[in-house]
Subunit: 280 residues, 2 copies
DNA sequence: GGGATTATTCCATTATAGTGGAATAGCTAT
DNA sequence: ATAGCTATTCCACTATAATGGAATAATCCC
């Protein structure tokens, strides 16, 4: 970081650009912006479209897209020159998982939870300053879940969100969450104080549950997963129809907390990685 | 591409560097190199280690690692400053999948294949100029598979490899595959002419199978998956113990080819994407 | 067809990113 | 401690990457 210039982690490229406006941008940062943009958009885009939407110079964008295509980070998605995230990202994502115990280990816990409750179970994490579902196991009940795997959602909209920021001070939390993220899906605004109180409660109980604000028929349960330290690296969640949740509240709660604790223990005590077998 | 300088697709950064030696490298390309390096290494590394292993200037490497950590593409993996692939890559990989029909659709086919044969089924693709297992469904038999998901393997070592390059001319193929990749795991060298003959046979039959060169006890079956055009975007494979393969050869072959064809049809006829439901 | 609009490529300029090397900090083993 | 490593940070220099704007190509709509 250059002197006299404070750029914090997890700031969006746009935030950074605002700070030193007019300044040239680094190619690498712009490239990441392009990838993020396509991720959010969830479908291919033309270079020109990208340039306009991320407010980058066209010439730069064309060149970067070209470079990214050449390295496999992007791929042409049709004959009209549209590009989308490339195969290389898929492979890099795979490699991430093999190293990161959490995503490896949790699968069986999600299965177990879904089996025990017949509800949908999820592993949730922060992605920058947003909440995201990293993995999901659908329950038997085929109802529509509010958010898709990988979609970035405002932290205050979610039960997990309260746990995922619980290691921060009130001030840090308000600093961390973009102001507009307190606007709920129904356009009403959640008072930050209320949110902070929720967080305090979640922190004390190491658990949080509420009626989803994303729809009108589900109740969400969340329990934190720790990895050594006090910060929640992720949460395990259950999404249940409200009647079910009410009827089985204690059981769901206990099951979820037990699973989360078990998973945390496993992560904490098994820092050693299994080395992979070579080609026979 | 600048005039008088021919840089082809899928060349490794090292190959490019060899061309214009002494020339400065673009940050973005170096960054991709770092990611690839960590993917290959499969465990965290210090910046210094990275710099040495990819033969990049230390100062540059430190700076790039810093930038990549800031954007979430890398993460610190321990307190000793080691970094590894970051969560963002996982999410970008997820986004890739949601868009790319193949990886979405094939799961059920892998299950079906594994179920019908009790053998291990795989979806294989090219990653640059190497072969890679993109998805795997283990059969009931718990024997050790030669290559892991996401690991890059020389094309000539694999049955799928013969199909994945079948759309190229002989010349293009030899151009595409690094010379040293014809050295088999047992150190013997596969004659390129033999390989080209294999490819021709695979191309004609739209199928290939052989006793694995990666181990001494399996037989690999591969069938191509097409997506509109004539090029094989991927292959479906079966890995079976040799006795099993011999005993069930025709059945396995037919089942595999049928699955691959069905999957190809689905991909070809369903180019329309389902738009995702909004938050309720 | 042609006139307007949008998308892509080309090009000169200059701020700065990538670089080598030197300085400093951290370890390890005596 | 101290010497001998290795790892990391700092710094000045310049080749070049990012940029704006102009030129060209493609697409759309009367």
């Amino acid at each position: 970081m250059g002197p006299g210039r404070v750029v914090e982690k997890n700031m969006t490229a746009e935030m950074v650009r605002d700070i030193d406006s007019g300044r040239r941008m680094r190619g690498l940062d712009r490239a990441v912006e392009i990838l993020d943009y396509l991720r959010k958009r969830r479908r291919p885009a033309r270079p020109n479209e990208i340039a306009v939407d991320i407010a980058a110079p066209k010439s730069t964008t064309y060149e970067l897209v070209d470079l990214l295509v050449n390295s496999g980070m992007l791929e042409y998605a049709d004959k009209e020159g549209r590009v989308f995230l490339g195969r290389k990202l898929y492979f890099l994502g795979l490699a991430y998982q093999t190293q990161f115990d959490l995503t490896r280990e949790c699968k069986s816990y999600l299965d177990q939870l879904a089996q025990a409750t017949h509800e949908t179970s999820q592993l949730c994490m922060l992605d920058g300053n947003k909440y995201t579902v990293a993995m999901m196991r659908e329950g038997v009940r085929p109802f529509r879940i509010s958010s898709d795997v990988g979609e970035r959602t405002p932290i205050p909209w979610t039960a997990s969100g309260r746990l995922l920021v619980a290691h921060m001070s009130d001030e840090e939390i308000l600093d961390f969450i973009p102001a507009q993220d307190f606007i709920l899906p129904n356009k009403s605004r959640l008072a930050p104080e209320k949110f902070l109180a929720d967080v305090a409660q979640a922190r004390a109980a190491q658990f949080y549950s509420f009626d989803s604000v994303a729809d009108n028929f589900t109740h969400c349960f969340a329990a934190p997963i720790h990895q050594g330290g006090p910060i929640s690296v992720a949460t395990l969640c259950l999404i249940a129809p409200r009647e079910d949740a009410a009827r089985n509240y204690e059981r769901y709660r206990e099951t979820l907390i037990a699973s989360a604790r078990e998973l945390s223990d496993k992560l904490g005590t098994a820092p050693v990685r299994i080395s992979k077998a070579g080609v026979a």
